[in-house]
């Protein structure tokens, strides 16, 4: 990583910005839906024009969970690849193809949801049946992302051929790991959509195997969250050290952490299905154990980050025990926003341990605790890091600068987000522990004390949700400023380099056959027998249900 960064051409920048545009339009649309949900759940507001709560809930989940994340991640990763290994004209054309395929899929799915033909939530559990256009749209988003993945693979391959014997640049290595994981994981949901859902939604298949479809979904559903998290880790490992004026902590350890995340993010989907019938509890337990293996790369990451902070601070001459911590660049939003994201990952990760714990899960399964959990991990840790990246990536791409005024607005945005999310996610966690369900419109159920308590927390969520929406408006404003109005100039693309005396990275870390082989072996171990069991002991299939979602 001693190499100079490659300049990004205008043509490339346009592609990366296209992904950013979809991201921020999605943020606005999805965020608005989120606001409406919290208002409805407060019991003091009803949606106009007979719009159904579950329609906006589906929009919120699909647009923020699947669209915003995937577009931002693929755009950001393309820029990392462009910076470190470069992109050829031909690759650029194929990359545009991936963008358009994903966009067409997104629009198809979005329209189907908005006209009320697909109120099935982003998990689209059978046998609720949406219009076929919804499933086809989703399939296109996945196929588009595969095209992007193969462009990335090709980019590194071409670079490797031109740089025989050199190790790949760390950011490129990380991108390839994430796209490998994404590809292996999405095979599950793509199989489910193409083989089970589409023929059944079109009426060619009369029934569907519900448990199998759910198992295939969750084979994808957990790596999905790591697909969101790894780009945040990329920023923490290679971008943040540069922003604080330091160097990489350890190239080899960063690679090792990513390899472990690749291996242990996929064979773990059963921890989302712990309370389901029809799956042997021993296999559930095995996948719980595999789930917890990600504790190791997480601890490695936490150590690396804080070691970088301390080393950098001490080198600048801060001697006292915590002096280096006080002197971190707190007034630089490129640092502050991701830092708060990291801090949120401490309670977020702890909550995740509760969720995946074989038995404790029963207390929180499908309660709004879960919603609180992923608003802390995805919507705070990941999203604040993505915002932190936006502050320098967008002006870098548009040839502008992050001005002190925009930096200040960014800091305000970060505080609004932190404040709003503390209230919203906090009250979701508490309400969940008291048994309040997730994914539910306002209801007084049979009344009584329990329900009255829940509703109080739902009012708190509406307050938090409103504050968060103000944060979204501010972020969209900053994005528009950085795109069109900020003064022209050069904004640095921060990528940290290794120490001059860094130890060489072991070659084995780039032995793709080995790591992909172990990953596949673990998946086969964790899934082969239970899936055969599920298929062999499957009950009569389920016919579709349309009227339940108001079709």
């Amino acid at each position: 990583m001693t190499k100079v960064q490659l300049p990004l051409s205008k043509k490339e920048s346009r592609l990366y910005m296209a992904f950013m545009w979809v991201t921020y339009i999605s943020l606005f649309v999805g965020g608005l839906m989120g606001l409406l949900q919290t208002l409805v759940r407060s019991g003091k507001y009803t949606l106009p024009f007979n719009i159904d709560y579950y329609t906006i809930l589906t929009v919120h989940g699909v647009i923020l969970g699947l669209v915003l994340t995937t577009f931002f991640i693929i755009g950001f990763q393309f820029s990392l690849m462009g910076k470190t290994v470069g992109i050829s004209d031909k690759q650029l054309k194929v990359a545009w193809l991936s963008f358009w395929v994903m966009l067409v899929g997104t629009i198809m799915a979005a329209i189907t949801i908005l006209v009320g033909e697909a109120s099935v939530l982003y998990t689209f559990y059978a046998p609720l049946r949406a219009h076929p256009a919804f499933y086809i749209g989703l399939a296109l988003v996945i196929v588009g992302s595969w095209i992007a993945a193969f462009v990335n693979f090709r980019q590194l391959y071409v670079w490797k051929k031109a740089h025989k014997g050199e190790k790949s640049p760390l950011p490129a290595f990380m991108v390839i790991i994430n796209m490998l994981m994404w590809f292996i994981a999405t095979i599950g949901v793509a199989t489910s959509v193409l083989v089970l859902f589409i023929p059944w939604s079109l009426g060619y298949a009369e029934t569907i195997n519900v448990l199998l479809s759910r198992t295939l979904f969750w084979y994808f559903g957990h790596p999905l969250v790591y697909f969101w998290l790894l780009p945040a880790y990329m920023a923490w490992y290679v971008v943040i050290p540069k922003i604080i004026g330091g160097k990489l902590f350890s190239d080899a350890l960063a690679r090792m952490a990513f390899i472990l995340l690749l291996m242990f993010s996929i064979p773990v989907g059963f921890h989302h299905q712990l309370t389901e019938p029809g799956i042997d509890p021993t296999w559930k337990f095995i996948q719980v154990v595999l789930t917890f293996m990600v504790v190791i790369p997480s601890l490695m990451t936490a150590f690396s980050i804080f070691a970088t902070f301390e080393t950098t601070g001490r080198r600048k001459g801060f001697k006292s025990l915590f002096g280096w911590f006080k002197k971190l660049p707190w007034k630089d939003v490129r640092f502050l926003a991701p830092f708060i994201g990291m801090a949120a990952f401490i309670p977020g990760g702890a909550g995740g341990i509760v969720n995946a714990s074989h038995q404790m899960n029963a207390l929180v399964h499908n309660t709004i605790w879960i919603t609180g959990h992923f608003h802390l991990t995805a919507a705070t840790t990941v999203v604040l890091t993505f915002f932190g990246i936006t502050y320098w990536l967008v002006p870098h791409l548009t040839g502008r600068r992050l001005t002190p005024r925009l930096n200040k607005l960014g800091i305000i945005q970060t505080f609004i987000w932190t404040f709003g999310m503390t209230i919203m996610s906090g009250s979701m966690h508490i309400q969940g522990l008291l048994g309040g369900p997730r994914r539910s419109s306002f209801s007084e159920y049979a009344g009584g004390e329990q329900v009255a308590t829940w509703i109080n927390y739902q009012i708190a969520q509406a307050v938090g949700g409103t504050i968060l929406f103000i944060g979204i408006l501010l972020m969209v404003y900053i994005f528009i400023q950085l795109t069109f109005f900020a003064p022209r100039g050069v904004q640095e693309y921060p990528i940290a380099v290794e120490e001059d005396d860094a130890e060489p990275t072991p070659k084995i870390l780039e032995n793709w056959y080995l790591w992909i082989g172990i990953t596949i072996a673990l998946i086969l171990f964790a899934y082969t027998i239970p899936v055969i069991d599920i298929i062999k002991h499957s009950p009569p299939g389920s016919p579709p249900f349309d009227w339940l979602i108001g079709r």
């Binding site: 080899a252 299905q273 038995q359 072991p506 389920s542």
Partner: protein, 167 residues
């Protein structure tokens, strides 16, 4: 690969805690029998009445031994069927004395539902073609809301019941 001394200590401590943690949940699961609900019996979702437990006359609560109860439930959008009372009205409440052991046994006629007795450990997914079972000791007096906690359609939030535990 070089590891800093402090990082070694950190990782060894972390991994040791992890092993201890997994041993505890493994011990609880395999020796204390606290596996999550994983009942394996299947059923035809379009003909649940064929199963003895889910015949209309067998729905609701039944005392099977002193202090031991079975509750049979059929879920469908957007209702839990606990059977009928003596006047032919649909039951919405299950009443049990404090300290009784209750086996909840539930299946669905249509889509996926949830079954949670809020404030207790009774929390199961209910899926077409499968029977979900969970036995719990109802230790605390009070009214507990039963909620469907898996999205089942536009009336999902109207699907509920009550468990009343009395002295």
């Amino acid at each position: 690969m070089h590891l800093h001394k402090y990082e070694k200590i950190w990782l060894v401590f972390g991994m040791a805690s992890l092993v201890l943690f997994l041993l505890i949940i493994g011990f609880a699961a395999f020796w204390k029998g606290t596996h999550p609900q994983s009942h394996m019996e299947t059923i035809d979702p379009q003909n649940v009445e064929a199963h003895d437990a889910f015949k209309p006359e067998n729905l609701g609560i039944r005392e099977v031994a002193d202090g031991k109860y079975i509750v049979n439930i059929v879920a469908s959008a957007f209702n839990y069927d606990f059977g009928k009372d003596t006047e032919g009205n649909a039951n919405k409440t299950i009443r049990v004395p404090k300290g009784s052991t209750v086996l909840y046994q539930i299946t669905t006629k249509d889509v996926v539902h949830g079954f949670q007795v809020a404030g207790t450990n009774v929390n199961m997914m209910v899926e077409p073609g499968h029977i979900s079972r969970y036995e719990a000791v109802m230790k605390n007096v009070g009214e507990f809301t039963i909620v469907c906690n898996e999205y089942c359609g536009i009336g999902h939030h109207q699907m509920y019941g009550t468990v009343e535990v009395y002295e």
